[in-house]
Symmetry: C2
């Protein structure tokens, strides 16, 4: 029925539609809805404690027997750099003053946890069908254990070189993440965001470069983008932003409001929220401090000092200091339930491909 069944066969899923993991904006509920609809739901684990991952996987296994994707970041946690921390606090000092906050007493913000021994144990215990990594892959010993636990391993490539690297290091499939994509760029071999290719250019070049199946991501939010991805040679699509307004997502009210008014030309790559470039809608902090700030501490340390500003602003009903992650096709997204959206997307895509 689908023009390419390599991904559906590999993961044992019905529809070649992967829900992109979106740390901070969703948990098990969205993953369950997408997996139950026949796609591949994903649980983003980067901001969850080990106990929470375990609990969320328990909920998922209870509510669906379909395959699911656990997603982890694979960065190396940086040691704080005192000079950079000072510069960052100084850059933000005006906002602290404006809100009457104490700049000298900022609690450590919500970090991001890289995939480690403890996370690997959860994988071994809960046996997700698919494990995805962002920012490269974990060390070989852990990767081997993930594979030994039966998981298919996928990861994001933002360039052909990264796709080749991921295939050589054992990925079963590659997510080709075009520059349009919302959230963190998966970039890991270099750090030059100016030369990151868009989905239309990236996907066919990755398809030509690797022999494993390719999952297209970035700027895909409806059946037109999904059908286009298949034409480019992708065997599946990964969609994030289009799920952010669904009732099953845990997207904050201010984020939802911003998404409802999203435009094609109002997202940028910014490092002000975490220290790594990620695509989101422009708001006050991005406009005034970013989009890319040389003062921002290394990922994920930039998050700490933004935290109190965000908390204060959100309490006042403002999203001026919140990360409003979104891809460039955010305006095509809607508020429909995730399962219904997934099924209708699949049907409309098949129709466009002349295969319904």
């Amino acid at each position: 029925m689908w023009p390419d069944t390599r991904i559906t066969d590999l993961f044992g899923i019905e529809l070649p539609i992967l829900q992109a993991p979106m740390a901070g904006s969703q948990g098990s509920e969205l993953a369950i809805a997408v997996s139950e609809a026949g796609g591949l739901g994903a649980l983003p684990c980067a901001m969850l404690s080990i106990d929470k991952i375990r609990a969320e996987m328990g909920v998922i296994r209870q509510r669906t027997n379909r395959p699911v994707n656990l997603n982890f970041f694979t960065h190396t946690n940086s040691e704080p750099d005192a000079a950079r921390e000072t510069a960052w606090r100084k850059r933000l000092a005006g906002y602290y003053a404006e809100f009457g906050l104490d700049a000298d007493n900022v609690p450590a913000g919500p970090g991001r946890n890289p995939f480690d021994e403890a996370a690997c144990e959860v994988v071994e215990d809960t046996r997700p069908e698919v494990v995805s990594f962002h920012f490269g892959l974990p060390e070989q010993k852990l990767l081997d254990r993930v594979k030994a636990a039966g998981a298919k391993v996928i990861a994001s490539a933002t360039t052909v070189a990264e796709a080749r690297w991921l295939e050589e290091h054992g990925c079963d499939a590659i997510i080709a993440q075009g520059a349009e994509a919302g959230g963190h760029r998966g970039i890991f071999l270099e750090d030059d965001i100016a030369s990151q290719p868009g989905t239309m250019a990236l996907v066919p070049q990755v398809v030509d470069a690797v022999s494993v199946p390719v999952i297209a991501a970035g700027g895909i939010a409806d059946h037109r983008g999904a059908a286009a991805a298949f034409m480019l040679g992708a065997a599946a699509v990964q969609i994030g932003t289009a799920y952010l307004q669904s009732p099953e997502a845990a997207t904050a009210p201010g984020h939802r409001a911003a998404l409802a008014e999203a435009r094609d030309d109002r997202t940028v790559l910014t490092n002000v929220f975490t220290g790594r470039p990620a695509r989101g809608l422009v708001n006050r902090i991005v406009r005034e401090v970013g989009p890319m700030s040389a003062d921002a501490p290394a990922f994920p340390l930039a998050t700490g000092a933004i935290g109190p500003l965000r908390k204060h602003a959100e309490a006042a009903g403002s999203a001026d200091f919140s990360p409003l992650w979104a891809g460039q096709a955010a305006s095509l997204g809607g508020t429909r339930p995730a399962g219904e959206f997934t099924r209708d997307l699949a049907a409309a895509t098949l129709k466009m491909l002349g295969r319904s």
Copy 2:
């Protein structure tokens, strides 16, 4: 036969494939080859004298009776800014010294001519079937004369807002120029390149926003990209970089050599060659002075001071100071004759669309 015939009907062409005008890298020969093959060939006029445009159109009319596209820039020529010129010369002084060139005696470089009264007369005399504009549209009086001369008018939009503006101002079709595209960004309502959407995200949003047909451009270099563009809702594609290595193009040897080794992740938007952001392969001047330099004089004035460096380097067989315009899908291009490439592209695209 094609899923959408609005553009082929509008222009009176056989294939929905437009050759993107590429000033400095092609003349009548490429345009003739593409038009004769059934696509729409284009003559870029921005760097040609009025006499040369007239002569080239004479050659075109002699060698093909198929429709052709004359292309013009619509910028306003800036008055030189002494402070910025000084800063720019200072920025480049080291290179002048390295090559033993006289920095105080730089001739005015090859400018770019905006569409004006004289160019309009050529349009009225030679009656091109299609006239395309880059950087917006000319003043209404000239635009009316172009239309009265029987030309269909098209222009590039880099955002939905620009597409709406162009439709409101009378364009018969819109080129949706995604961020992947090589050469100058058509951006004209704003100047923020950080928020420019990629083709995958831009095309469907433009299609939803305007009622005239949409031509997809950016990152399209083979049948996969062309078929994807139709899925996104485009009625035609515009392809530039993939023609640059054809024998009919006038692409410089150093540029051809760079294209032959092009990678997905080795182009950037740079203003160092002209003052406006344009996508090209990274070379020495881009790496060391750009990619975006605040010192570069306004378009097209930056070109002047680069000229002698380029001339000197090219004479020594180096492309270190030459603009190596290229889109992000440059690696998919080849060296085949333009007519053959156009016909085969059409056939392969129809096959992918299940319509051959």
